[in-house]
Symmetry: C2
Amino acid sequence: MKTPSLPLLDRPEGMTTHDYAFARLRQAIMVGSFRPGTSVTIRGLAEALESSPTPVREALRQLTSIGALQFLENRRIVVPRITPARFEELISLRIALESHAARRAVAHLTERQIERISAIDDSIEDEILRGDQVAALIANQAFHRTIYTANPDQIVMPLIESVWLQLGPILGIAMEHVSELYVVDRHREAIDALRRRDEDAVADAIAADIREGIGGFDQQAVARLLKLAA
Amino acid sequence: MKTPSLPLLDRPEGMTTHDYAFARLRQAIMVGSFRPGTSVTIRGLAEALESSPTPVREALRQLTSIGALQFLENRRIVVPRITPARFEELISLRIALESHAARRAVAHLTERQIERISAIDDSIEDEILRGDQVAALIANQAFHRTIYTANPDQIVMPLIESVWLQLGPILGIAMEHVSELYVVDRHREAIDALRRRDEDAVADAIAADIREGIGGFDQQAVARLLKLAA
DNA sequence: AATCTCATTTTGTGATCACATTTTCGTAAA
DNA sequence: TTTACGAAAATGTGATCACAAAATGAGATT
């Protein structure tokens, strides 16, 4: 049972072993380090994380609660497989969740926050030019997250991240086989709409960004990617 | 540390201790058995469930992943407190999620399934007449769940249940202080729209059902309820 | 070459224990 | 009466172990 390699992650002092295991596994899955169908073992990950089974098992259980992993009937632990239909569900759910979240964030965003969001958008461009796909992906997530979390009472972010986690594995495949993942983006359009406090325009820009970005893969493209990875 | 009492729940043979603990705690929170701010302990629940700390801890960790519980900095485990603003966020999120889910289920529903949904709606009325609020609540959830899960590739149900879980505690308070929780409902309207395969009408009926049901509490009503429970 | 059998190994599960931190509560001082 | 203090109890954390079930792989059979 080969354990997938885990990208390193900073461990703040005082963080429990369990929290660290959770954060690191979560990050790994979200940026596409695990392939769909990959199976992991508690002991294997415990060794990779230099800890014991107990905290790792807790982290794995949490990850199953948010759809990032699956405990099968045979008690095997696997990264869920994607089908074209499931992919389409995830994209339409992303659109529904994120346009809702964006809409409800508009009223809370300050000028300063909008500037920060604009700066994050610039950093996405930088990472793309440098060819660092994972860094670009993380920056892109930060772009979206910073908008949505401007709403202080927001509840939706964990749900959005659950969807991101479920898209992670196919995203990892896409990054291996597609050179340009961000050819088009609607970020400037969203930022302009934020400045105008135009809720509808913000929601539309976010929806279009998703639809034309990762959502741009049609069912055949997804099927092709899955075939390549098999 | 007094441990809240847990409604009994059937334990299918072969179910692991952990799964049983998770299912039972989840059910208890979803039907309002726990008050906001209640704190629980691992050992206390382990005793109540006649098991040991390990599987209970895993169940609690999962429940935090879906917003049903919270591990505080002090390492205390509590049922999250509700604020009027948070309540309003939860309702608007419910509407966004469930009208999306309903819309995407319409095409998959068979006549037979629609009949079953209609029968569930009747059973809600029965439970209300019998005065069993918890049974009515569970039947109401079944009504919604049966619609949304007709879509076989559906991803959204776990997210919807996460929101239900977060509303559970305030619902428990409401059931104690409000005699009629389901005076109006739009279920017949939704069922008729399902029969006509009218996606927009289904989504509207579900949204109205939520808005006029639990969503009908305004901020003052929520604040009053919270005060009563404190 | 493919399939079956069975012993070995691997793996998830759940109980237990030691440890450090936090909470609780009785007592004393202000 | 209120506040401060310190010992005792309670609690979360993480490692370890025994156990049962599942997976693996070598060797025999067809």
